[in-house]
């Protein structure tokens, strides 16, 4: 009897999990389906789920009108570059705060987080002027810099919480054996923190990939990433839902694939912490 209840519970919880998963995934599925519809089918009421005239016309139009590869390459460089630089800065910062905290460490951490509370539009004009004067408008370097700065507080916070879970004793033992700070970081800390580092990197990559305020405002053509590509298909006067869906599907495809392959590391990093 107990076994039956367990099985029943398992079936119910599995079904519930699938249902919740499907509900969360549904908007993406709907977007992909819409990208294969004609514009007329895209807004037909009631909407048709699978039985419509399937067409790849929207992808052809999007390809004709925009240089997808140029935008995708910019997204990869900007998101990847800003993530790598953020990690290079954040790992030593989080390490020192986690293992050699001072009286002010908590205040510094809170201050860093507080910079995320300001709406970015509040500093748009000064930043635009600085970028104009330094010739950084519409450059990949400019976008890498601003996204790196924007995401740095979150990256440091995440790494700080992972590093906090690593017992100090292990590091002390390494020091007793004569390890230098560099060796301690590379050979002792890093292997233990890999799940944390991986999930931080992936999250930062997703945040940078989706960032749509600075990338839209500071880029024009040469450095324009996929956010600009999508914005060029949205229109308040005209129904281009199918084309917009095709552009959006293309824009999320790379990061979706990356997320799919690394979901195990991502989940482990987010749920189990560094050394459990």
């Amino acid at each position: 009897m107990a076994r039956m209840v367990t099985t029943q519970n398992k079936v119910i919880s599995t079904a519930a999990a699938w249902l919740v998963g499907f509900l969360i995934f549904f908007p993406i599925l709907w977007m992909v389906l819409t990208s294969f519809k004609t514009e007329l089918d895209a807004f037909s009421i009631p909407p048709s789920f699978l039985f419509f005239h399937w067409t790849t016309e929207n992808y052809v139009t999007v390809q004709e009108r925009s240089d997808y590869l140029h935008h995708a390459l910019n997204s990869i460089i900007i998101a990847g570059g800003s993530t790598l630089i953020a990690m290079v800065i954040a790992v030593p910062a989080a390490w020192s705060m986690a293992f050699s905290p001072t009286k002010r460490t908590k205040d510094i951490l809170l201050w860093m987080l507080s910079t995320k509370m300001m709406p970015p539009v509040g500093v748009l004009v000064p930043i635009y002027l600085i970028y104009r004067n330094f010739g950084l408008l519409d450059t990949r370097a400019g976008l890498v810099f601003i996204l790196c700065l924007g995401n740095l507080p979150i990256v440091i916070w995440m790494l700080f919480t992972y590093f906090k879970e690593i017992p100090k004793d292990i590091l002390e033992a390494a020091r007793m054996d004569g390890a230098t700070i560099g060796r301690e970081l590379i050979y002792v800390l890093t292997p233990m923190a890999i799940p944390g580092l991986a999930s931080t990197m992936l999250l930062n990559l997703i945040l940078a990939w989706n960032e749509a305020f600075w990338t839209l405002n500071l880029s024009t053509l040469d450095a324009a990433p996929l956010t600009v590509f999508i914005a060029s298909y949205s229109s308040p006067e005209g129904l281009f839902w199918a084309k917009l869906s095709a552009a959006s599907t293309l824009a999320i495809a790379p990061i979706l694939v990356l997320g799919w392959f690394s979901q195990r590391q991502l989940v482990r990093g987010l749920t189990f912490g560094a050394v459990k």
Partner: protein, 437 residues
């Protein structure tokens, strides 16, 4: 030998300098509307005639574009050479010297052929600061089959009383047909474009001659009560989140008996490729209450050159090409006259080929003629603009008032409370901006 050397050196210099002299790259910022996308597709026709000019396009959604180009022009960022802006921006930006007057459009441009109302809307002190690419007003689009079935006849210039009665009669909520679809989504260019134009026909105004907000007037109360009651009884569910696109989808799917919106929608709802009711659509002027003003607006997406551009001549050359009569003909040759950009040139409305394929042409022209941005209201006002007041503060104020009115439509607040809140917030902003004490 010396001569040969000189000739070789001269040729080499020419070869080296030729590409840098030849190529001027224009960066053009535009919105993602059908007519603009068509222009983008025809760029090669322009560059074939002007091989020394290369054109690069930045196409963005309207609100993103507005923020992007405003930031750039205000900081003299110099990222764009040609901007697509509306009639709202032109007078404000021209007065700030942010735009270059368009005085090099060429002898054969024929400025006199521009529709006078549209030309006035993009001129300041008689100087053209932007060239209209396409113009629009608003009008009633209605289902002729449903009107015939109900035994109703739409007049060319209906009153609000007629529209309200007809909408109630044609509503069949069980059958999924609604008497009227109107904008409800909050925003200065969304519900407030419609409601401001509607309020003009009821004799209301945003500000009196001393810039005092007028939402406490009986005219505004009548406007908002009529709108909310009409939409509650004859509008589609969830109307407070409907903008142009949502209503276009509803009307094209056959769910609305009437729709009052931009005249550019006419070519979309009569196109069998995009609309299920393409052959059943009639047109009429936006409604009035007999006070001499119809509830229609005036807008033109126009091309302008920012003061920071270093390629003013090439930019004006492009603008002259894109807004010329020849461009309309080029579009007609490629895609038919129905696709020609509407609402800017008198000659288009005299062209029998265009009139043959555009059943909405007559009413579009009549609607544009019926709007007067210089005298938009029954009572005098200190501002220019039919569905907006052309002051920099209007975007913020308009959106804030739009949110109050959307709340009244969705039933979250009453008409009286929404008007009181609109009055308070507008007074506060106008005081802060220094218009009133």
């Amino acid at each position: 030998m010396k001569n040969v050397l000189c000739a070789v050196a001269g040729a080499a210099t020419l070869l080296i300098s030729a590409p840098s002299l030849a190529q001027t790259t224009l960066t053009i910022a535009t919105v993602n509307n059908s007519d603009m996308i068509r222009m983008q597709g025809l760029t090669s026709e322009f560059t074939a005639k002007n091989p020394d000019i290369t054109v690069k396009w930045v196409t963005l959604e309207e609100n993103v574009l507005r923020q992007r180009v405003t930031t750039d022009i205000a900081t003299k960022g110099g990222q764009f050479d040609v901007l697509t802006i509306g009639t709202y921006e032109v007078p404000i930006w021209a007065k700030k010297n942010w735009l270059v007057p368009l005085d090099k459009l060429g002898a054969d441009y024929d400025v006199g052929d521009l529709l006078p109302k549209i030309r006035d809307a993009v001129s300041v002190d008689g100087k053209l600061y932007a060239a209209p690419f396409y113009g629009e007003s608003s009008m009633v689009m209605y289902r002729t089959d449903l009107f015939d079935k109900a035994g109703l006849k739409m007049p060319d210039s209906p009153t609000w009383d007629f529209v309200v009665d007809a909408a109630k009669k044609l509503t069949d909520k069980a059958g999924g047909t609604y008497g009227i679809c109107l904008r409800g989504k909050a925003g200065w260019g969304e519900n407030m474009a419609f409601l401001t134009a509607m309020s003009n026909s009821f004799g209301a105004r945003w500000f009196d001659e001393k810039w005092e907000p007028q939402f406490n007037s009986p005219e505004w109360k009548k406007t908002l009560e009529t709108y909310v009651d009409l939409m509650k009884q004859a509008g589609p569910p969830g109307a407070s989140s409907n903008g142009f696109n949502e209503n276009l989808a509803l009307f094209s799917a056959g769910k609305c008996a009437m729709w009052i919106d931009a005249t550019v929608a006419a070519s979309m709802v009569t196109n069998p490729k995009d609309s299920k009711v393409a052959d059943k659509v009639g047109f009429a002027l936006a409604p009035n209450t007999g006070l001499g003003k119809n509830a229609n607006w005036l807008w033109a997406w126009s091309l302008a050159v920012p003061a920071g551009s270093k390629k003013v001549d090439a930019a004006q050359k492009f603008i002259a090409w894109a807004t010329s009569k020849d461009y309309s003909k080029l579009v007609a040759d490629k895609e038919g006259w129905a696709s020609a950009p509407p609402g800017t040139r008198i000659s288009l409305y005299k062209n029998p080929d265009y009139l043959k394929v555009a059943p909405f042409a007559k009413m579009t022209l009549a609607s544009i003629d019926a709007a007067d941005p210089s005298h938009p209201t029954v009572k005098p006002v200190p501002y220019v603009g039919v569905q907006y007041a052309a002051i920099p503060e209007f975007q913020g104020i308009g959106t804030s008032v739009g949110q109050q009115f959307a709340a009244a439509l969705s039933g979250n607040t009453s008409v009286d409370a929404a008007l009181a809140a609109a009055q308070t917030s507008t007074e506060r902003e106008m005081k802060r901006a220094g218009y009133i004490k």
